[in-house]
């Protein structure tokens, strides 16, 4: 058994940490309060230049070919400083991996290069709809073939990066008569496509620098070759990618949780009450012990899922476990961090309230934790 990272993984982790500390952390609080989005996009461009937008993508298509473990490590380090940047990076890598897995040679050449290089500020995954959230197979956006084109109609909701995405992986119903989930296909829709409107941006509790918008398709015509993978197999094409996405969201949550506890533990060693540092109180020590233990357990689960993914082993269950456990551990860590800072933790003079808000959505998006539990149970029970 070997728990050591490779030298390359360590260098990637250190590079991500240094970049996050120097470039992302100083801007994160301001961006959370509605600061200039140009700064946010500028940081994404720098990350693309360094190769963070296609970590698992083959070098032939402009990627770093660094693997799933390195991707998980990088997202954790970035999320320690700025969760909004981390989620954008996670979604870009997710879309890129889906294209790499299911795309034609032309699609890979065309889109992967632009995602990896930062020519596209971001890429979006458009699955969720007002009536298809957890029940994602209830997708009602339709795609109808008309000559050499597909015509899309309907609307999507909660789409990360929509206003600055260069390409959208859109899930749409292509066979209404098929069994539920069996008639859905995935399409690559370029920004600016006629009939695609980027709707209003949500005002969110956290991860506020990252845009989350509605999309509407109104007779949006895209070429026949915009179909990604096989017709009516949208979910099959994306399943592998989505499992990786779960590892990445778990890794993101881990980063937020660590940032919160690192801050709170250091604070507890400075703050004195009753003539003693509050870190000398057992109640505080227990919160520190519990949270760091849970975060370490989360890290190990995520690393093991990522290592399985990287070596081509099945990891559906492990990815869901890692996502579920890490996001809940991170939320408890943030809750504890605010508690350790007392009233100060509840103000925006300290970063822990932002961490707590940023962590909250991680149990919801990329499949709610209830859905992760269904996946885990399904994976376990199907082998009995």
């Amino acid at each position: 058994m070997n728990f050591e990272l490779t030298e390359e993984q360590k260098i990637i982790q250190a590079t991500a940490r240094e970049f996050a500390e120097k470039e992302l952390a100083p801007a994160a609080a301001d961006l959370d309060r509605g600061g200039d989005r140009k700064i946010f996009l500028g940081n994404l461009a720098k990350l693309a230049e360094l190769g963070f937008m296609g970590l698992g993508i083959k070098a032939d298509y402009g990627g770093a070919e660094a693997g799933s473990v390195a991707l998980s490590l990088a997202i954790t380090e970035i999320a320690r400083a700025c969760a909004s940047t981390a989620v954008t990076l996670a979604v870009n890598n997710l879309v890129a991996e889906i294209i790499q897995a299911a795309g034609s040679e032309d699609q890979k050449k065309k889109y992967l290069r632009d995602i990896c290089s930062g020519a596209y500020p971001a890429a979006s995954l458009a699955l969720t709809e007002p009536c298809a959230g957890s029940d994602s197979a209830a997708v009602a956006v339709t795609a109808v073939r008309d000559g050499e084109e597909w015509v899309l109609n309907g609307s999507k909701i909660f789409i990360t990066s929509a206003p600055y995405a260069g390409v959208f992986a859109v899930f749409a119903l292509t066979d209404k008569t098929a069994l539920k989930g069996k008639g859905i296909s995935c399409f690559l829709v370029e920004a600016g496509a006629k009939g695609l409107t980027i709707g209003k941006e949500e005002h969110k509790m956290g991860q506020r620098a990252s845009a989350t918008n509605e999309l509407s398709f109104d007779n949006c015509r895209i070429p026949a070759d915009a179909l990604l993978g096989k017709l009516n197999s949208g979910f099959t094409s994306a399943a592998e990618g989505l499992a990786g996405g779960r590892i990445n969201i778990g890794s993101l949550a881990l980063g937020i949780g660590l940032a919160a506890m690192d801050y709170a533990a250091a604070y507890s060693a400075e703050r004195a009450q009753f003539g003693k540092k509050i870190s000398s109180f057992e109640a505080i020590q227990w919160m520190i012990a519990d949270s760091y233990t849970e975060l370490e357990a989360a890290r190990l689960l995520l690393m093991s899922a990522a290592a399985k993914r990287e070596t081509g082993k099945s990891h559906m269950k492990e990815a869901a476990m890692g996502k579920m456990f890490a996001t809940e551990a991170a939320n408890r860590a943030c809750y504890n961090a605010v508690q350790i800072l007392g009233g100060y933790g509840y103000t925006d003079q300290y970063p822990v309230e932002r961490y707590a808000r940023d962590a909250r959505v991680t149990t919801i998006y990329e499949g709610t934790n209830e859905i992760q539990r269904l996946i885990i149970a399904r994976e376990i029970l199907k082998s009995i």
């Binding site: 030298e7 390359e8 260098i11 660094a66």
Partner: protein, 260 residues
């Protein structure tokens, strides 16, 4: 042009350092290591020089003395843009004095005839600031220390130096030369991820320290210890305006935050 850059891997300076069993240095157990910050500037300057050579074939070698762990620092330098690595394997390098380290590097460099050698001005952990200059002496090269600006035209190095009290000086020297680099000399680049992965294919030659030099120490570290903590901090008193001036002076004198 043959260029050498010498780097050291040092512990994260925010670590808690514990003395080793002999109380002569710190123990490495549980420490995380990274490239000495001064050396990052040396690597960047060496890469910039190599890039300026354009079509002229240049050979940029990065060298580190130390145990197996220093390969990570070498790989980072290779990912940043060095051509090949030399690892002088020495499990006891952290106990060696600057003379011994310089002797090891010189034993290798003598045979290679480098035109120019970059090192950090000092290491963040031992901080002797002697390896670069001793190496220059050993090789009979000219040497400039604490460079904050560097150029090389027609075989002449022009370097700006930082002098005491904020003054600056400019020196010119002939090749072969050793340049020890101060913080702020340039902006060290981040290695890109594709280059980190590609650097796996770059050569790292391993040399055994014992086969290069058997020099003994000239300055033996007798004792490593933490000074006794003084209870109180510094208390300044007086008018706010005068206090502000005093605080600014203290920051300039005692810290690096205003250096530039």
């Amino acid at each position: 042009m043959k260029i050498l850059v010498c780097i050291k891997q040092i512990p994260d300076m925010a670590s808690k350092f514990k003395p080793n069993a002999a109380n002569t240095w710190f123990t490495e157990t549980d420490l995380a290591f990274r490239m000495n910050e001064y050396d990052e500037y040396a690597v960047e300057e060496a890469i910039k020089l190599k890039e300026k050579q354009g079509a002229d074939p240049s050979d940029l070698v990065v060298l580190s003395v130390g145990p197996a762990r220093v390969v990570e620092a070498l790989k980072k330098a290779l990912a940043m843009g060095c051509d090949r690595g030399v690892h002088i394997h020495d499990d006891e390098s952290n106990l060696k004095d600057p003379w011994q380290i310089a002797s090891l590097i010189a034993a290798y460099a003598k045979k290679e005839n480098f035109d120019i050698i970059f090192t950090g001005m000092q290491s963040q952990d031992r901080g002797s600031g002697q390896v670069g200059v001793t190496l220059a002496g050993d090789l009979g090269c000219s040497c400039v220390t604490t460079a904050i600006n560097f150029s090389l035209e027609a075989g002449v190095v022009t370097a700006k130096r930082e002098l005491e009290g904020g003054a600056k000086g400019v020196v010119k020297l002939k090749l072969p030369a050793v340049v020890t680099c101060q913080l702020g000399l340039n902006t060290p680049r981040y290695p890109t991820l594709p280059n980190i992965m590609k650097a796996r294919k770059k050569e790292i030659a391993v040399l055994k320290a014992a086969e290069l030099s058997a020099e003994g120490p000239r300055a033996v570290t007798e004792k490593f210890y933490h000074p006794v903590k003084k209870g109180t901090g510094l208390v300044l008193e007086g008018e706010p305006a005068a206090l502000a001036v005093k605080v600014l002076e203290l920051i300039k004198e005692k810290t690096t935050v205003l250096r530039g």
